[in-house]
Symmetry: C2
């Protein structure tokens, strides 16, 4: 059994490749992995489902984000396991297994960027590309104790990335180290990370209220440091109709869009899926038009709400997930419930397109839990700056 085939491995078997980045470039010396939704020339894009990988031609070009990172000097070392066709938040894959969460070996790593989070958390590479449609970078970042970003929707070129729900799809990345996270962010955002920080903080009381009490308590010290770093802070409701209503809208729009993405393949190939994945696609195919219309209106209102809450210079903070990583191998109905609860704290991303960075640094009973920074459209670099400064302070203050 080779390293890539071991149970709990982060990499798709057979993809421990090595494509060297450009010499004398800013990320030279760093290694990275790419979720198996990103094209790497000469390797099949597996998408976490063997029937997808078999069906589609082997790409001849790298995805934009892969190419950008190689050009910036980083070296690609592998392709990482993903939940099937990126549908999932827990990180268990019936075809490829469950990548190890080194911070909690009996727990899931989070998904769908499960292998990317696992590879980074285990030190198998310095950072990794993931995707985030409904929470797929943020959730594993929280569960594995990593920095992770869901950029502003539309900010990162998605050419060569397997789609799921295009109106919500983003390419993000995960790192262990704040400085690496910032350097990679500067290259992929194609913008320097500023020194100046936002000066107003909104504490999303509804999101903290939805999280388990232990989570809110565990995040309190990090939140206090954030508040003192930013200066002015106030508590506000994030979603006036309820985060659950926003989540319902997103979980109406996103699966239906996913169904539209995959239905021609499904019709032609009758692919295998884990039952839970197939069921979600079946239910998505049956979404009533009136529900889709309601969800579309809710999306407009949610976007307007966040524009209102997040003027320039203001960021919002919230727990990334309402609980730390659940146990592996839960029954299907318990997995469903976990996904629904996770979606309550992550649906605003796909629904409104705002950027979000999850910052590690807290634990519940030894399990990592992330604090998230949310900003207005385009404020990605500013969120990264806050994350870096928070980490610098934690590491030893102003030296």
């Amino acid at each position: 059994m080779t390293q890539e085939d071991e149970p709990g491995g982060a990499f798709v078997p057979g993809t421990r490749l090595r494509i060297a980045g450009r010499a004398e470039a800013p990320l030279h010396g760093l290694t990275f992995a790419a979720k198996d939704l990103f094209d790497v020339a000469g390797y099949p894009t597996g998408g976490g489902n063997h029937d997808w990988g078999r069906r589609n031609p082997v790409p001849k070009r790298h995805a934009w984000a892969v190419e950008r990172l190689l050009d910036a000097g980083a070296t690609l070392v592998g392709k990482t396991i993903t939940d099937e066709v990126s549908l999932g938040l827990l990180g268990e894959n019936a075809f490829d297994g469950t990548p190890l969460n080194p911070a909690a070996p009996d727990r899931v790593p989070g998904g769908s960027s499960s292998g990317s989070a696992s590879a980074v958390a285990r030190g198998l590479c310095d950072f990794a590309l993931g995707t985030d449609t409904g929470g797929s970078v943020r959730v594993p970042a929280s569960f594995c104790g990593l920095f992770g970003i869901r950029p502003t929707h539309g900010r990162i070129d998605l050419r060569g990335m397997m789609p799921q729900a295009p109106s919500s799809d983003t390419a993000g990345w995960l790192a262990r180290d704040a400085e690496v996270f910032a350097r990679v962010s500067a290259e992929l955002l194609e913008q320097p990370i500023p020194d100046a920080l936002p000066h107003r903080l909104v504490i999303a009381v509804d999101a903290f209220g939805f999280a388990e009490a232990e989570v809110a308590a565990a995040l309190a010290p990090l939140l206090a440091r954030l508040a003192s770093l930013i200066g002015e802070s106030r508590e506000e409701l994030m979603a006036l109709p309820g985060l659950s209503a926003w989540a319902r809208a997103q979980r109406t729009l996103q699966p239906h869009e996913g169904w539209l993405t995959f239905k021609d393949w499904i019709e032609a190939a009758n692919p295998r899926f884990a039952f839970s994945v197939a069921r979600n696609l079946v239910l998505a195919s049956m979404t009533p038009q009136a529900e889709l219309q309601w969800a579309g209106l809710m999306r407009v209102e949610a976007r307007a709400r966040l524009v209102h809450l997040l003027p320039p210079g203001t960021i919002l903070c919230m727990p990334t997930t309402p609980f730390p990583a659940p146990a592996k191998g839960l029954p299907v109905s318990a997995q469903d419930l976990a996904r629904q609860r996770l979606a309550v704290l992550s649906s605003h991303g796909g629904l409104t397109g705002v950027p979000q960075v999850s910052v590690p640094g807290a634990e519940v009973d030894g399990l990592p839990i992330g604090l998230s920074l949310v900003g207005r459209h385009g404020s990605d670099a500013s969120l990264v700056a806050v994350a870096r400064t928070l980490a610098d302070e934690a590491a030893g203050g102003a030296d």
Copy 2:
């Protein structure tokens, strides 16, 4: 690549076993295979789904039907591929492939007893055990040009056979040769095959009308011989509310019962299924109570109708399938439609429990098509007698 692993193979890889039957017993010298729904001691019962096979303990005892045949002298030579958890009528399996239909290599073999039909049709064994809940012996018998029986519900002991929808499940068998078919039938029915034949024939005009015109035309000579063999014949409607209504009732009851059979496994294991199989289970899980109640009432009326139509001494004949074997690899929606049309001519079996024998001997454009004999409850041996006599006559008349 060994024989059992070749594309189009009929046997589950790794199951080309040999368990000799009892010497000096009536079936000595005959070989048989068992659909991978029957327990064979020491081999996993795969059920056509790798996650089922992995999950369940390896049986320590043979299924009743396997034991009965070994005791009657037949030698078991392998376990045959089945549609996933016996849900399917076409014979394509996303895990194990599509067994070859030697009569039509570019067509499906029919299912779910696909490998059993293929193995017999290819001469890899003399006969094979299958199961028939909604048509799974009769359809492959028709598509591959074999004798096949769905016995009276409850007639054959189902111990050691993986269930699907117990109120419709039966164990049946397939053979190339009428004499072998009759000898095996006598052993499994535990009753001699009589010489006396029924003396009244009902020609199910609704069933012939539902079949493609070419099918009815192709079956006409066989039907004429049957009518002259039996003596008195008359045309009748089989299902007064329509065979489609009976099929709707069966396709309400059977999948729901299948869902009840598999739901605990699905909840615990989140197994992989081909999309079409998963979708049927999902839809079955959502069946409204009112639909189930209607279907239950329709079942009572259908049973009464067949009791009325089939007094002692009377049999009914109909096309086994409305068309010969469709092409392999149809799109999912075309597969759905094919299954629905097949069910119109096969649902009466599961709905009412009557026995049915499919007889080969006709072709449409070179593709086999079966003629079916249906009798009252318990008339299994009489139907086998008619099938044998028809075949004897075709082989050379009264000599």
